[in-house]
């Protein structure tokens, strides 16, 4: 079962980005509330209820969809904000909610049964049995697959489960199993899993060190780079570490994921939707990336399987691109 149409799912950190994504040709936009219920809880970012209602109206008037990510893990004894977020998304008539925590999935299944549920990448469901578990218990309709699978793995999973899948097409490489990475909280005390912030800006510092710039997270030095050298995000997995007497990007290089040249393969694998990452990035990024993918997908729909030339390299992390785990040998 190969879907004839690849849905383009795009990020919006702000209402302005939501409009930019839709104007640039997004089929679907995903966003989150302005609190710890979503995994991009950065200052000045995200939507309040009124903004969400307006954003959904803007999308629906144009026949597009809006998904709401409620994809962090509630703190014990303080689950109300997550339950409220589920109810608010339903009230705003979002097209689906993206969830990760088993408790939140359980709440949504019982209290908002008609609200379509997607499984977030934060749930780290990378195999057929896990996917079946979430489908059987929470009637999950779509799974966002972790960024650790090859195209062959993706195809096999879809064949075995028959589930709708959404895969990352552009953004970070994310080498760790998401939703279960405690590296950033080990250095800062703030958690990506429960507070929605990886490498919180409050703990990031850039210091001049002679001719170099040093990036620090909490009290840990992540990297030192000379002027003009490409800089990665200041996350622990993109730091330089010394092993066997040599400093290297032990986990991942400063490089961005871009699957624009393997869209025909992803389509053939049976993927339903392509996800662009970057709710923390600007609307200029959103417009540029969404525009490029819209063009490539329209070309593909007309049977043009030639890889389109793309100019997204500059906008990618570190100014370089990779197919990440999609190509065997990455691991």
């Amino acid at each position: 079962m190969t879907p004839s149409y690849l849905e383009l799912v795009c990020p919006a950190g702000t209402p302005a980005s939501l409009r930019a994504a839709i104007d640039a040709g997004a089929d679907t936009v995903y966003c989150g509330f302005r609190n710890c219920t979503n995994a991009r809880n950065y200052p000045g970012l995200n939507f309040d209820q009124d903004e969400l209602v307006e954003g959904i109206a803007y999308a629906h008037e144009r026949g597009r969809k809006v998904l709401v990510a409620i994809n962090t893990f509630p703190r014990a004894g303080d689950e109300k904000p997550w339950h409220q977020a589920v109810d608010n998304a339903a009230e705003a008539r979002a097209d689906a909610i993206i969830l990760a925590d088993i408790g939140v999935l359980d709440y949504a299944t019982r209290h908002q049964p008609s609200m379509r549920r997607h499984l977030s990448v934060q749930a780290s469901a990378a195999n057929a049995l896990s996917i079946a578990f979430y489908r059987d218990h929470f009637d999950v309709k779509r799974v966002v697959l972790p960024r650790v699978l090859s195209v062959e793995d993706v195809a096999a999973l879809i064949k075995e489960t028959g589930m709708e899948t959404e895969v990352f097409a552009f953004g970070s490489v994310g080498p760790m199993s998401e939703g279960r990475c405690f590296l950033s909280s080990y250095m800062t005390g703030l958690s990506p899993t429960s507070e929605g912030v990886c490498a919180p800006a409050s703990h990031v510092a850039y210091k001049e060190d002679g001719d170099c710039i040093k990036s620090c997270l909490g009290c840990v030095t992540l990297n030192k780079f000379s002027k003009g050298e490409p800089a990665p995000y200041p996350t622990p997995c993109k730091g330089r570490y010394v092993t066997h007497g040599q400093a290297s990007y032990l986990f991942e290089e400063p490089i961005g994921l871009n699957a624009i040249d393997i869209l025909p393969q992803l389509k053939a694998a049976g993927v339903t939707a392509l996800k662009i990452e970057g709710r923390q990035r600007s609307r200029a990024y959103v417009a540029e990336v969404v525009g490029a993918f819209r063009k490539a997908l329209d070309g593909l729909a007309q049977g043009n399987t030639e890889s389109s030339t793309n100019d997204l390299k500059n906008i990618a992390e570190g100014g370089r691109e990779t197919f990440g785990a999609y190509k065997k040998g990455w691991r």
Partner: protein, 307 residues
Amino acid sequence: MKKTTTKTKKAASRLTLGPLFFHWPAEKRRDFYFRIADEADIDSVYLGEVVCSKREPFFEDFLPAVTARLRAAGKEVVFSTLALVTSEREMKAILRRVEEGFLIEANDVACLQALKDKPHVIGPFINVFNESSRDFLIRNKAKRIVLPVEIPAASIKTVAGGSKVETEVMVFGRQPLSVAMRCYHARSHGLNKDSCQFVCGQNPDGLQTQTVDGQQILTVNGTQTMSHGYAVLLEELASLQKMGVTHFRLSPQDIDMVETARLYRAVLNKTCAPDEAEIKLKTLTADVPFVNGFLHGREGLAWVQGT
């Protein structure tokens, strides 16, 4: 001798030995467990490979003897599964263990689907941060829940306190901080996971990394990234007991684990003061720093002195 008394003392705290994260030679691994069976005051032992399925075949032949010896010594044996399951082969291996009748520690949600209605342990790699996820998993036949290493005391109080089942917390050892598909151990040698030559076997306590400023923060173990510091929650044992935590996990390191278990047991039994045990533990752990930040709601690498 000790087993008979634990039945009558219903609320007695249990000491457990978590799964070995490191790739030790099979004989060393076997002898380690034999000694645990013969000498260690430990109630439950978790066997099984959590980090990398490529390592699994090495220990397979020794598993029956080790299991038998541990059970003969009155210890509960639990089989821990992989933290990240992706291949068909890995899923089949889990199904086989379930059929063999082992009590399973599920570290990937895949296991829950495979286990259906069989009682099981929820491992620390399945996120249980709150009471709703706890309650769902209990309804799904979890008989014990091992909490994730990141969870702070305030949450443990709620999750363990109101639980109808046993709660386990890791109180000693390098904290597992992330799992991945990519093998960083291999990468550090210029290899990849498929051509790894099992270089992770060269570092029985993990591969030490340093930041470009020479700080020791992270340790690499195959596809797993761990804290450099050993988590040491001796000072906190009494308050964890009060919160309702029933099981206390020691994670195997390449040090004298029998002696480590003895120190923890003494503090649990209140026959040794925690600060005294800490000093003795220091003599076993060389220059590896102690950490306990996560429990105190701080950055994990912090060391908060006992109050």
